[in-house]
């Protein structure tokens, strides 16, 4: 069953068409990849799927409900989380606070103007658990800004996970990472796979071909190819290119 479906999304910025009737669907428990050349509209597409932009036409359906044009916070609360391509953390907060602020418990207590922010031990425990999960167990007290690049990437994912999503969107999680960091991140994503439905935008083909169950290729604001890694690799051009070799 498709957990998330997008039907013929169309979006323009002024006179510019950015998305041209994109349709996508992501199945429960799978890792779906989205790839495409630079400037093809991947991130814009992502932004529409997660509520940052409202499409001009088309529908987005999550878990059977039409969520087109809902606000990011509403979409987030339904159980869709995302990470960002450019670092997008609460820079002055510690790693712990970054995660804690994203927990639904914190959100529920948001109207409390008097109490202690982090007195709830269950909340503190859960935040730590998530940090341990992404391999940042010993970084809880560090300011996000001061963490090394790879760890900030992992923290991005931890923040996204903190809202206990049913569906997690990762926007170029390996961007800017060296091969070492990439491998570690791939391990982390592999660990998450199955536990949560994942959608990953990647420029790094190797990463997607090795992890994804299904891949959509986006170019010119539309889906120009779709299939399992094996299907896509069958294309002779892919076989003869770097892409083929890496895969």
């Amino acid at each position: 069953m498709a957990l998330f479906e997008a039907h013929e999304l169309h979006l323009r910025f002024g006179d510019r068409v950015v998305l041209e009737d994109i349709s996508l669907s992501f199945e429960v428990g799978r890792l779906s990849g989205i790839m495409g050349p630079n400037g093809a509209g991947k991130t814009t597409c992502f932004n529409v799927l997660t509520g940052r932009y409202r499409p001009d036409r088309g529908r987005v359906v999550f878990d059977g409900a039409d969520i087109t044009g809902r606000s990011p916070q509403a979409i987030s609360r339904l159980g869709i989380a995302r990470s960002f391509q450019l670092m997008n953390l609460f820079d002055e907060f510690t790693a712990f606070e970054n995660v804690a602020i994203a927990l639904p418990e914190t959100r529920r207590r948001g109207a409390d103007p008097i109490g202690q922010a982090y007195r709830d031990s269950a909340l503190v425990g859960e935040a730590h658990e998530i940090l341990v999960n992404v391999g940042l167990g010993d970084r809880a007290g560090q300011i996000a800004k001061s963490l090394p690049y790879g760890e900030r990437r992992a923290l991005e994912i931890a923040v996204a996970l903190a809202s206990r999503p049913k569906l997690l969107f990762l926007d170029e999680p390996t961007a800017g990472l060296g091969s070492d960091g990439r491998a570690r991140l791939a391990d982390l994503v592999r660990k998450l796979k199955g536990a949560v439905t994942l959608v990953v935008i990647e420029h790094d083909m190797e990463f997607l071909f090795s992890l994804a169950d299904v891949i959509s290729v986006i170019h010119w604001g539309q889906v120009i190819a779709q299939g399992s890694p094996a299907d896509l690799r069958a294309n002779p051009w892919v076989r003869n290119s770097n892409l083929g070799k890496l895969a």
């Binding site: 510019r16 495409g36 050349p37 400037g39 093809a40 896509l232 294309n235 051009w237 290119s241 770097n242």
Partner: protein, 205 residues
Amino acid sequence: MSGLPLLALERVSKIYRRGLFDRTLAFRLDVDFRIDEPAIVGVMGPNGAGKTTLFEMIAGSNAPTGGRVVVAGHDMQRVRYRERDRLAIHYHQSYQVRRFSRTRPDFMMEPAGSSYPVVHLFDEPQFNAQDGYIGFMLDFFHRLRGEGRLVFICLHPTAALHLELLRQTCERYLFVANGQARPFADFGRIISDPDVRRYLGALAP
């Protein structure tokens, strides 16, 4: 769209002059052709000959000086600005540029009457053999054509690969040069034309 040609350029001309006062001719393009059936059309021609201008006129973002462009029965200059991409869409490099010369307000225009573009104009798509996207792109052109659309691919060949791509993918051709766009029915004919051979130079087979 039965009976109507997918695309007709009826004695279309585009003239640019040097300036407001200096009325010397700077650029001139005359085109007159029609395509009735879905097809993939390869477009070649030297830089500055007017390939992009031609695409812009088809997409409706650039108004012809004379004549008219008709896409699936609609005169592009009479269609609402925002709906023109429902008829013809111009993919410029990686993103899609449209900058209309607006002459009349939108509400005085006709609706497009189509929900998906009939003519797809790919302006110099990046064919990089290294990354493998080329295969997806070619498949995509064929898919569009299979869905009954008209596909234009504009290329300025710089490698043998590019000519080979055009030969394999396209069914008809246009050569834009010297102020004209000349149609050719197949690869053999365009490649044997002396003007084209001169343009291709060393690349010519």
